[in-house]
Amino acid sequence: MSEAIQYFQFVLAPQMLIGLVLGVAVILVALGLTIIFGLLDVINMSHGEFYALGAFIAFALSSVGLPFWLLLILVPLVMLPVGYLVERGLIQRVFHSGDRHVRTLLLTFGLGLLLEDAFRLVFGPNPHRPETPITGGVEAFGIFVPSYRLFLIVVGAAIIAAVAFVVYRTRLGAMVRAAAFDRDMAASLGVPVQHVYAGAFAFGVALAGLAGVLLAPIYSIFPTMGRDFILMAFTVVIVGGMGSIAGAVVAGLLLTQIQAIVSLYISPVWSDPIVFGIMVVMLMVRPQGLFGRLGHG
């Protein structure tokens, strides 16, 4: 019995904790991605680079002495107008064209490449590792948890809850869901649909930026960090249901736990192929994902 408890404490629980931290991180990035898709029907291929942009802005500002805690507020605030301008200045230019999906996908893909090269030019190709703002750890039920990872789980859960509250419990959220389902009818009731779109895009980008600030102390900062992370975020969004907030949360937690368990019992090499395999199977048997799309009941 004690062997089983020890196995749980020292082998399984730490691995599941790693999965949980990654899960919260992926959900933070996937939330913005799924809101943008659910509302605008746009697959934002530059979302990973906005996540990286948040991390690089935080890195640059911290090097001039701004504290991490201030950056948690400042970076999303900086990212909001960036996202708003990208939506109004770029996305809206091709939004009403017949082949909107292809055009917005290529446009955001190009923007992502541009940002990635800009990061390389400005910050160099090598990784930067910001200092961990909270050091040490706590022990609960015999399981050691690094303090910063615990902080990330708590803050991440709070952000996810706040986003869900705004989307499902406020009039602003009702406007977003209405515009996601039927833009013409929502507009005829007075919903300023174009501003809702731009605002939601900006919010998604700000969330990605915030994730960049939060995750940089764990995963480091480098020009292709967005590309690496966005694959998992896309998988979460597809499995959870494109445009579903609940889906992003459930799939984010589920898939990262699967990754963690596979790494432990099979091999870390198999963790990604198995998770991407789940995505492929999901697309074949239930293409709408686990949950319904934003605003679609």
Binding site: A174, S188, Q194, G295, G297
Partner: protein, 235 residues
């Protein structure tokens, strides 16, 4: 109130509305009749801003609204109840209703609450089902919700497309009672309806559209003009 001059609307190369002129005064119900596919719904969609006109003018209370986005037209006082009701399935009855507040810029929260309370008194079934999702309601209740959602914004102009379609006679009677109330409150109403006899119980004037043009118009209280209408559309 509503003045339309030489309105033309195209869907790609199809010329749907071909030079329509009409006016609707405050407190007046104007019926639009005609066969399917003649441009009745497109006319309403053009006024509501869902489709941009290619030529002509639409003014609401002396303000040009043609070419504006639908939300700006709604904020100028035009409410639209489309044919298929367009209830938001992911929103509760109350959330569907509260979206109607947005048509009244500047009204405070107390005003919004009072408007909601008034709607619940007029539509007790909606009050009972306020937490249910809109699309779990029956067809008649959904039509009531679509009407109530617009009424909560106290529109100056109401565009209604085929409100009685697929509804039981009792519900239709209730629906037309609401249209009458709206008319008495001073709202200008443009009503597209297949049920001509029912529509004529509330209409002051009417027009018949064929191939995107008005081919007949008249007053509902003029027996000769009514007869001509019924003969023209062979009811």
């Amino acid at each position: 109130m509503l003045v339309i001059r030489n309105l033309h609307t195209h869907y790609a190369l199809s010329h749907i509305i071909q030079g329509i002129d009409l006016t609707v005064a405050a407190g007046e119900v104007f019926g639009i009749f005609g066969r399917n596919g003649v441009g009745k719904t497109t006319l309403l969609k053009t006024i509501a801003g869902w489709v941009k006109p290619t030529e002509g003018e639409i003014t609401l209370n002396s303000e040009r609204i043609d070419g504006l986005n639908p939300d700006r037209i709604a904020r100028r006082g035009a409410g639209f109840v489309p044919e298929d009701r367009r209830i938001f399935p992911g929103l509760s009855v109350e959330e569907n209703l509260t979206l109607g507040y947005l048509q009244v810029p500047g009204r405070d929260a107390a005003g919004d609450r009072a408007a909601l309370a008034k709607v619940y008194v007029r539509f007790p079934r909606l009050a009972e089902r306020r937490q249910q999702h809109g699309t779990t309601l029956s067809g008649g209740e959904q039509q009531m919700l679509a009407m109530a959602r617009v009424m909560i914004g106290t529109p100056k102009l109401l565009l209604i497309d085929e409100p009685s379609e697929g509804l039981a006679p009792m519900i239709v009677a209730d629906l037309f009672a609401i249209i009458k109330e709206m008319k008495q409150s001073g709202c200008a109403i443009l009503l597209v309806e297949q049920n001509v006899h029912q529509a004529l119980t509330v209409c002051d004037r009417f027009a018949v559209i064929e191939r995107g043009q008005i081919v007949l118009s008249g007053r509902a209280d003029n027996a000769a003009e009514r007869d001509k209408l019924l003969t023209t559309i062979a009811v």
